[in-house]
């Protein structure tokens, strides 16, 4: 029984690795743990976990239809295993989806907030309902072992035919509408894969994949448990699959021909190679081999065909799901190892659950000998130390948990510090605000800034030096009224206003450790001297904004804090409720964006969708970026 044990050991290790990565994913987010980006938001988790997961589980509805609708009783022996595979496959889809959703706790939203125009809405509902149907279809099997559930079981068995019909309908709907998802991207998906009949193609390939997956799973389990495989049943499945595969192949190429895209096959390039690989693996070679009776009826032949077809069609889902999307100059998306680890862990969990059900319940006609329940087995001893290895149950429990723990620790050791901090925001250094009486504040020079009536604000706030300190709350040493940009150096990220390295470096202040840190304490910010101990005039008199730790907030955040804080107070004080609104400061984008000199640059920024609520164009007629410094805009504060 070592095969089962080693296989389970491997699965538990995968699960451990996935547990480590999964923890990191939920703690640090998608940006830190995947290679996904705004350009490629759907990757391996959608292509494999969801799209392939659903397709791999198609065996459930295909076989229930065969056995309970078409009454082909000779397949009865494998229908339970097929339903179990489908059920676990769908559970795996749901779990895998939770990893990919940015806000997984909102997954219930589709139940309440309906969007009937969305194929994803249909997929979500169908998958949810079909999962319920599968649960009800499979429940009688474990219920056999509990006499208390006999009534429920009998009821469900009576309900079987309606359940089967519901299952087939729901599967037909969502297997195909997974293809419909991509109908919205006619220019995004490569023309060799995009087709208006993607739903039909998906449905056909799902049927073929379902048949091949049931075959593959029968082969694996008979290998693991050393039982004689149901070769004749599997041969019949193969015989059915060859026609489906042939039909699929025909539809694919007829569709390409009808759309006039056959020319792409001569294009060259990696997509075409990928296409031929996919066609060969998923349909052409398996169908050709399955037409040879000797292959169909031999174990070795099935061992070649089934994994090949399964790989090929999964490959198709991954291709359509993201790999062949046009990349628009972005670098090619390849899944990160963390993404692969999560997918593998989800599959491993499903496989472990499958083996559990197979060993504990009557999924197959003859239950395999449970490797862990051998009460009559003599205790085994370690040859070297004569230590008892425990009962088989205790031994496997010990080993599996050990594999899990080691793999999880290994996974955590691989998640480097850099991987854990999200690559999220690119550095965006800030430029000084330009101008005199009116300052053009636009830190990253993308045109979406604001014309800030500096002189006008000074006058409003009192006009003397104390009014400066209301905003200029910290000076760079030996400077007065330092600009915001000198500490808030990045648009979005926190920057270090203190500069430890500059203090310590011989090229800078050339201080020793103990010039600031107490010699007998841990070197930390808390145990070091106050800045004000050396820099006496760092904080100007009358400053109201307190500096806590010299971690300067991002420029955008800092500007909004300093402006809006005051505007909100003043809105009540001078009874101008519009004062804290966006449009009060951000009202001149449009004019500046219209500048022909800048138009070209702003084209690529269009998609940022900045909304300017009230553009008071009459105040800004003729103002251009170059003219700003010379032309003070004094009416800015007027209503």
């Amino acid at each position: 029984m070592n095969r089962v044990r080693n296989f389970k050991l491997f699965l538990w290790a995968l699960l451990g690795l996935g547990a480590a990565v999964g923890t990191a994913r939920f703690m640090f987010g998608l940006g830190a743990t995947t290679n996904l980006s705004d350009a490629v938001p759907w990757g391996l988790w959608i292509g494999f976990d969801v799209m392939s997961g659903v397709a791999l589980a198609a065996g459930g509805f295909v076989l229930t239809a065969t056995v309970y609708i078409f009454r082909l009783e000779r397949f009865h022996g494998i229908v339970r295993a097929a339903v179990l595979t489908a059920f676990l496959g769908y559970v795996a889809v749901a779990v895998g989806l939770l990893f990919d959703l940015g806000l997984p706790w909102n997954i219930w939203h589709m139940i309440i907030f309906w969007n009937p125009h969305s194929p994803l809405f249909e997929v979500g509902w169908c998958v949810m309902l079909y999962l319920t149907v599968l649960l009800l279809e499979f429940f009688p099997v474990p219920a056999e072992s509990f006499s208390g559930l006999a009534k429920v079981r009998n009821f469900l068995v009576k309900l079987r035919l309606p359940l089967v019909i519901a299952g087939i309908s729901l599967s037909t709907l969502h297997q195909s509408s997974l293809g419909s998802l991509f109908l919205i991207m006619p220019y995004h998906v490569h023309p060799l894969w995009y087709s208006p009949i993607l739903p039909v193609i998906f449905f056909l390939s799902a049927i073929a994949l379902g048949l091949m997956m049931v075959t593959f799973e029968g082969l694996i389990s008979s290998y693991l448990y050393r039982r004689a495989p149901e070769t004749d049943i599997l041969a019949k499945l193969g015989a059915a699959a060859r026609w489906v595969l042939l039909l699929y192949l025909g539809v694919r190429f007829t569709d390409l021909a009808a759309r006039g895209q056959l020319g792409h096959l001569a294009d060259g390039g990696w997509q075409v190679t990928l296409f031929w690989m996919e066609i060969a693996l998923s349909a052409a070679i398996p169908a050709a081999l399955l037409f040879i009776p000797r292959v169909r009826h031999s174990l070795a032949g099935l061992w070649i065909v089934a994994p090949m077809a399964v790989t090929g069609i999964v490959f198709n889902r991954i291709n359509v799901g993201g790999l062949v999307h046009q990349q628009r100059g972005e670098t090619l998306y390849l899944p990160a190892w963390t993404e692969i680890a999560i997918s593998a862990a989800v599959v491993a969990a499903a496989a472990l659950a499958f083996l559990y059900f197979v060993e504990k319940f009557h999924v197959w006609e003859r239950r395999p000998q449970d490797p862990e329940a051998a009460p009559a087995a003599l205790p085994r001893f370690d040859v070297a130390s004569f230590a008892s290895l425990g009962s088989p149950l205790v031994r496997s429990r010990t080993l599996y948990s050990l594999a899990f723990v080691f793999a999880a620790a290994f996974g955590f050791s691989l998640l480097s510090g850099e991987a854990l901090s999200s690559r999220g925001v690119d550095p965006a250094p800030v430029e000084e605000a330009r101008g005199g009486d009116t300052l053009w504040i636009d830190g990253n020079l993308d045109g979406f800034g604001t014309a800030f009536a500096h002189r006008r604000h000074v006058e409003r706030l009192g006009g003397d030096s104390t009014s400066c300190a209301l905003c200029h709350h910290l000076n760079v040493p030996r400077d007065r009224q330092s600009g915001c940009y000198s500490c808030h150096r990045d648009m979005y990220s926190v920057s270090d206003a203190f500069g430890h390295d500059r203090h310590a470096s011989p090229a800078g202040a050339a201080l020793g450790c103990f010039d600031c840190h107490a010699p007998d304490a841990v070197k930390s910010a808390q145990s070091a001297k106050e800045c004000a101990d050396c820099h006496k005039d760092l904080i100007p008199a009358g400053a109201v904004i307190e500096v806590e730790d010299y971690q300067a907030a991002g420029y955008t955040e800092a500007m909004h804090q300093v402006c809006l804080g005051c505007h909100q107070q003043q809105a009540e004080a001078v009874e101008k409720p519009d004062l804290p609104r966006c449009g009060t400061c951000h009202r001149e984008h449009k004019l500046l964006v219209d500048d022909p000199l800048l138009a070209q640059r702003y084209q690529r920024l269009e998609s940022r969708g900045v909304i300017v609520p009230e553009v008071l164009e009459e105040h800004f007629q003729g103002i251009r970026l170059a003219a700003l410094p010379q032309e003070p805009v004094t009416q800015i504060d007027e209503p």
Binding site: R397, A409, S413
Partner: protein, 264 residues
């Protein structure tokens, strides 16, 4: 050198720490599960849980039985454990490292107290090693790893103390840091798989004893018989098997008069 130190601070530390944390959780759960199974398979279900609880608590209080029998050992052992547990968890430098890397920090010891506890732990390790090496009964019970543990545990404490309190050359500091990191990682990796796992298994020690004393049924009593200690009192209840009780229960006597009445 710097690369090795960074490896010790990064991947190696994460590996060792997670292995320790999950490994301890694993062995705790496995112990509970195995005890539960032993209990389930044993017909003798009588476990005195109140006594189990009292014994468990009693072993956590240093002024217990051991204090009366071997006061020096008990005191040294208690102080050693105090230093061993408190310093790594609550040293200010460690806490600030946690705060930097995870954002979570907690209460930390004053540096002076931490230094004192480190020295106590070091002295404790030395004394425990010497007692084990030169006290004949202890020596007879010791395996090789029992001698190695106090010495291995002393390494990170010694290097940590030197790094904080003694000024050394830069390369010397790096060597000590290296030794500190790698010995600590080794300890953390070994903890769940060696006797140091008692750091989490200690609360289970008495319940394991109570259950395994009766598994298989009568096992503990046979041990005592073999050792010739039948008269020695144990706190585990004598087996009162359900079957035995059934057999020894006196049947209500049926009076002859009633018998006749029934018969008629």
């Amino acid at each position: 050198m710097q690369a090795w130190i960074e490896f010790g601070q990064g991947p190696l530390f994460r590996f060792a720490f997670v292995l320790m944390a999950l490994g301890l959780a694993r062995i705790f759960v496995l112990t509970l599960v195995n005890v539960a199974e032993a209990y389930r398979r044993n017909p003798d279900k009588i476990i005195n849980y109140r006594e189990v609880f009292n014994k468990t608590v009693a072993w956590f209080i240093p002024a217990g039985r051991l204090w009366r029998k071997r006061p020096v050992y008990s005191l040294v052992s208690f102080l050693f454990h105090a230093g061993l547990i408190l310093v790594p968890l609550f040293l200010a430098a460690h806490v600030s490292l946690w705060r930097q890397s995870t954002g979570f920090g907690w209460f930390s010891l004053p540096q002076g107290l931490a230094d004192a506890l480190t020295l106590i732990a070091l002295a404790g390790a030395l004394i425990l090693f010497l007692m084990r090496a030169f006290y004949a009964p202890a020596r007879a019970l010791s395996r090789r790893q029992d001698y190695a543990w106090p010495l291995l545990l002393a390494v990170p404490f010694l290097t940590g103390y030197l790094m904080v309190n003694v000024s050394v050359s830069a390369s010397g500091y790096q060597w000590m840091m290296l030794l500190h990191l790698y010995s600590a990682a080794l300890i953390m990796i070994l903890i769940p798989f060696t006797k140091i796992a008692h750091c989490i298994l200690a609360p289970l020690s008495q319940v394991v004893t109570a259950v395994s004393w009766k598994f298989p049924a009568g096992a503990g009593d046979r041990v005592l018989e073999t050792l010739g200690l039948e008269d020695r009192p144990t706190w585990v209840d004598k087996p009162r098997l359900g079957i035995e009780r059934e057999m020894t229960r006196e049947l209500p006597e049926v009076k002859p008069a009633e018998k006749e009445a029934k018969a008629s």
